[in-house]
Subunit: 204 residues, 2 copies
């Protein structure tokens, strides 16, 4: 890896941290250059445009999410246990990823959801990827016989995601400490509704 890739990565690290606090559109070239300890033009050359930079940050954010949340959860056995691990990791992934604020991808999703263009597309692609992965894990839980065979997988993913979103909001905006506990409780209730006897008995 050349020097170029190296500093580009350093820039993205800094960009991730900054955007987790001020969002993607609040992230400016000048401010980022300051944080990264280099000149505006030097930093700019790595991306070619602000839009490209934003997209790079989004991709990096997604990548980091996979490394921090998804990959570790895959060590759990398929089924409900893995889903639970997934949720637990999700709950404090920005802390684990050493980000000072919230999830940049989530912030970007709310900023660009009504502004068509490549940035919005990148955000949607990133989130869709996460959901696809989530849907796969749910399907495995069905195949493992822990969730009922007639489980509406997309509906399960829908409700799971809802739990994550509200937990994020409670944590970040309201600074409530019991947010992740509530999320876990909601998850257990969700699972109980969709579980087979076998799947249900697995828990405690």
């Amino acid at each position: 890896m050349g020097k170029g890739e190296e500093t580009r990565q350093a820039i993205l690290d800094e960009a991730l941290a900054l955007s987790s606090q001020v969002g993607i559109c609040g992230l400016s070239v000048g401010a980022l250059a300051d944080k990264a300890g280099m000149s505006k033009s030097g930093l700019f050359a790595h991306f070619g445009s602000k839009e490209e930079m934003q997209i790079a940050v989004i991709r990096e954010s997604q990548q980091r999410f996979v490394d921090t949340v998804v990959r570790p959860a895959l060590k759990e056995p398929r089924g409900i246990a893995r889903l639970r691990a997934f949720l637990a990791n999700w709950m404090d992934w920005t802390r684990r990823a050493r980000l000072p604020g919230g999830c940049p991808l989530n912030a970007a999703a709310n900023e660009f959801d009504d502004q068509p263009g490549p940035v919005r597309d990148a955000v949607a692609a990133g989130l869709a990827d996460g959901r696809r992965m989530l849907a796969n894990s749910v399907r495995m839980a069905v195949e493992a016989g822990e969730l009922r065979p007639d489980t509406d997988i997309d509906q399960f993913v829908f409700e799971f995601t809802g739990i994550v979103l509200v937990a994020m909001q409670n944590m970040r905006l309201f600074r409530e400490k019991d947010a992740s506990r509530r999320a876990l409780d909601a998850f257990e209730r969700l699972v109980r509704d969709y579980a087979t006897e076998r799947g249900n008995s697995k828990k405690e």
Copy 2:
């Protein structure tokens, strides 16, 4: 009402529409003045600072939400029916309020959740107000005997809010049309879990 209040209201109407597309921090004095058909300084005089303007927009947004979502739902009888109406109204409130984009309050919540200050406080206050109102309606459903007496009201509000948030995301970012149907389905499942026999039989 003097002329001042009148144009101030017109400005806020325009500001709400604009911020529903570009968010609160994407809303600039110049752009808003253009939309409102007046000069930057003339508009600026109504608020005194950009921050005050942002807060005014947030307050207005909350006000509009109450008029569009909460008030109509209060015509339904107390209990689960009212909660259901509340959700249904919520699902397309920005359309009913003739806003071109998503919920400005929700956008602001994600933009400012990690930036302490008066704007964040205003957003949190607005959202907290909505949750208080929601909690009240849940409590009424308990008192009406439709939800179990041991219902954890805050947990119910938590899960309810999650349904709303994910539905918003699915609608706005992914443009899925079945988002509100999924939300309603999730709501019925939520209610079924917390309902008494009487409350359960109420539905269909």
